[in-house]
Subunit: 421 residues, 2 copies
């Protein structure tokens, strides 16, 4: 069986109401892409009988592989399983292995309370399905093959869904590879706008054959260039696509972050670890999220020792060694203060580079002189400390995000400059 088209259906009013962000679909999209399966649509629907039936009908018309997530919890607002059963004209049967697993989970975590009756229903599965046993939760997944199509039903809890995809579904999918190869090459840039980049590489782009497509994916100071190639000869395809990627990377050298699909945080952790250099971070307006973005990368402990969230001036003085006179004369949001914060945290963490952010994230705290969105950032390196002033003037969340992106951009530029010496 050749699978060409996949589709993801996520069930749940909470997604339509915007009460949760659908991160499952992005994770599934990446996994399926790595298995050479193309997702051509993601649809989020209400957990009503009508919406579920309609989505399954539509999906069966146009897709070969359909992944449905959500709607498998124990409470009454889930009608998914019954609706699916009537879609397949089958019944629900109780699976004894799943039932004893559900019971054992409640014995372990129930603090001696009896398992609620509604949880028996967790062990009910489609009679026509192969059960995907869920080691990490109570709701099992189900795999159904029907008229040449595969349907997979998974719980919506992200780590349960991921467990089932990785351990149960992926091995089964390995058998369904397409006869066409899909190959992606990436060039990651920072500090240059999408359209300047496009101008800079226009001649290379014009040379691309019809089966290699270039996409610009801008996000907060970073532009990710993705070359997507489709063809029958995997080896040639890779070689040819990589050659174009190399030419683009060489042309954009000044702004280059990496020649593979990594985030700027991942690039920093990788390069700093390889070079044996360390980073320390002092934060005011970014409130811990800048350190968090670095420490979220596996292996970050090899290049990161110390982060200080210094909201209060007393902490800036006591922990980072900022002069009381500087704070009095120039204020917490000033070039003089961020310089001392960056140099102070670099010293404290015995690091090669120290970053500091101080600004007014909003929505309150702004003044006519320093309105909301005013942010000073400093990076202290081995031979110099660089600073920059920004005026973002967005909401708190965006001001914090942009401060983080600019801080990492400044760090990366100084690191490349030092490295080039």
């Amino acid at each position: 069986m050749v699978i060409m088209k996949a589709e993801i259906i996520t069930i749940g009013d909470e997604i339509l109401l915007g009460q949760v962000v659908d991160t499952n679909s992005a994770w599934l999209g990446q996994l399926l892409d790595s298995l050479n399966i193309t997702v051509h649509q993601i649809v989020s629907i209400s957990d009503s009988r009508e919406a579920i039936s309609h989505a399954l009908d539509e999906a069966a018309k146009r897709s070969d592989f359909i992944i449905v997530t959500g709607g498998l919890g124990p409470t009454k607002d889930d009608v998914t399983k019954e609706t699916i059963a009537s879609f397949f004209q089958t019944t629900l049967i109780r699976d004894e292995q799943v039932l004893s697993h559900v019971k054992s989970i409640f014995e372990k975590f129930g603090n001696g309370r009896t398992m609620p009756v509604m949880n028996y229903g967790q062990a009910d599965v489609l009679a026509c399905s192969e059960v995907l046993f869920n080691d990490v939760g109570t709701a099992p997944g189900m795999w159904v093959e029907r008229e040449g199509r595969c349907f997979v039903f998974l719980p919506g809890v992200p780590f349960e869904m991921r467990f089932l995809m990785e351990k149960r579904v992926s091995p089964k999918l390995a058998a369904f590879r397409s006869e066409h190869s899909i190959y992606h090459a990436h060039v990651i840039t920072m500090g240059i706008g999408e359209s300047y980049l496009a101008e800079m590489i226009a001649d290379i782009e014009a040379e691309l054959p019809s089966y290699i497509r270039l996409a610009y994916l801008p996000k907060l100071g970073t532009v990710r260039l993705r070359l997507s190639a489709v063809g029958r000869e995997a080896v040639t395809l890779k070689k040819e696509t990589d050659a174009f990627a190399r030419r683009i990377a060489s042309r954009t050298e000044e702004y280059l972050v990496a020649e593979k699909d990594v985030t700027i945080e991942e690039a920093i952790v990788e390069k700093f670890t390889a070079d044996g250099i360390r980073l320390a971070i002092a934060e005011s307006c970014t409130g811990g999220l800048l350190a968090g973005s670095i420490t979220a990368v596996p292996g970050a402990s090899a290049m990161f020792d110390c982060g200080i969230v210094a909201y209060h001036n007393r902490i800036k003085q006591q922990v980072l060694g900022v002069d009381e006179e500087v704070l009095k004369a120039f204020g917490a949001v000033s070039e003089q203060t961020v310089i001392q914060m960056a140099e102070g945290v670099k010293r404290l963490g015995d690091a090669t580079y120290g970053i500091a952010t101080s600004g007014i994230a909003g929505p309150t705290g702004g003044t006519p002189e320093k309105p909301v969105g005013t942010v000073w950032i400093a990076v202290a390196g081995p031979s110099e400390t660089v600073t920059q002033l920004f005026h973002f003037r967005n909401d708190r969340h965006v001001n914090i995000e942009r401060s983080m992106a600019q801080a990492l951009n400044m760090l990366w530029k100084l690191y490349k400059k030092d490295k080039g010496k």
Copy 2:
């Protein structure tokens, strides 16, 4: 015009490939819900001519209000505008006001470089549309009314999309309210599973009339209960729904976080500020993200002064005052260490409560005695320090998330206990 059904279409291969998470739709879902407009479907499609045409055709059949985001950037991978023009059987015309705005942005941020030619296309709009002027970016939005339906086209960059929705689209939408009222009431709980909660309030749920629906929205230790009511009499509807919410809140008092739709972080910032108490945070495995989750809440600076990311033992000793002997005898991931971290950061920040996390987030760093996922958490309060050991055994990202959720849960429980004294 009465708008009953809305639909969101997001355009972009990067969403299908999972390279970006679609946060726009959740934001739009919340905004539309607050305007009494029901989103019944969210669909993500490829930025190809065929997919865009098909999605517009389908949406026009079933929805009254259609929001399309993405596909309006300047580079060649965007075919959206041409496809939309043929869908409406109209042409693209150059808007002079938009063009001079685009030019002025390039003059301001272009560092003296000439504006790339392709950016002229940013000023091309549908001849049949009302232009939604974009103060914060180069791509304008467009509003089209056709056969009793509204179509809105917006750029995919989140803060540009938000600006246009808030400043341009919402005011126009105010005219299109439904004659039915929709009302939501919320009860937020923490520390009790979905099914136990359902058992606990089964009798109240059984009394709900058909026009009030109860949904369970579980997420990492929190369960959000949402009562959704639909009817003609807004005042009565609110009163009746609020009364059910009050009964549920009263029944679940022990686990109650709030009787409105807030996150646990928002509840903590609000209550601590009101009570004039302060929080300080020392983090190892959560790496700054716990402090970041608190400081991301507007107004957090009123109750938060200080966060320490102490990855290296030297920082634990030097900044937090953890004993060298304790680290040697029990290790960084131990009850003794987190107690000293929590009490140390509480002292340093002159706070009422201090939280500390120390664990092995993974994927490496585990030992047979302390495998990946082993996490100790301590909360030091005014009269006692509580600790708890967790074994998460998931991936780095999930281990960090669950540590954060448990730390906030422990803080909330201790705060409620102290408050009850």
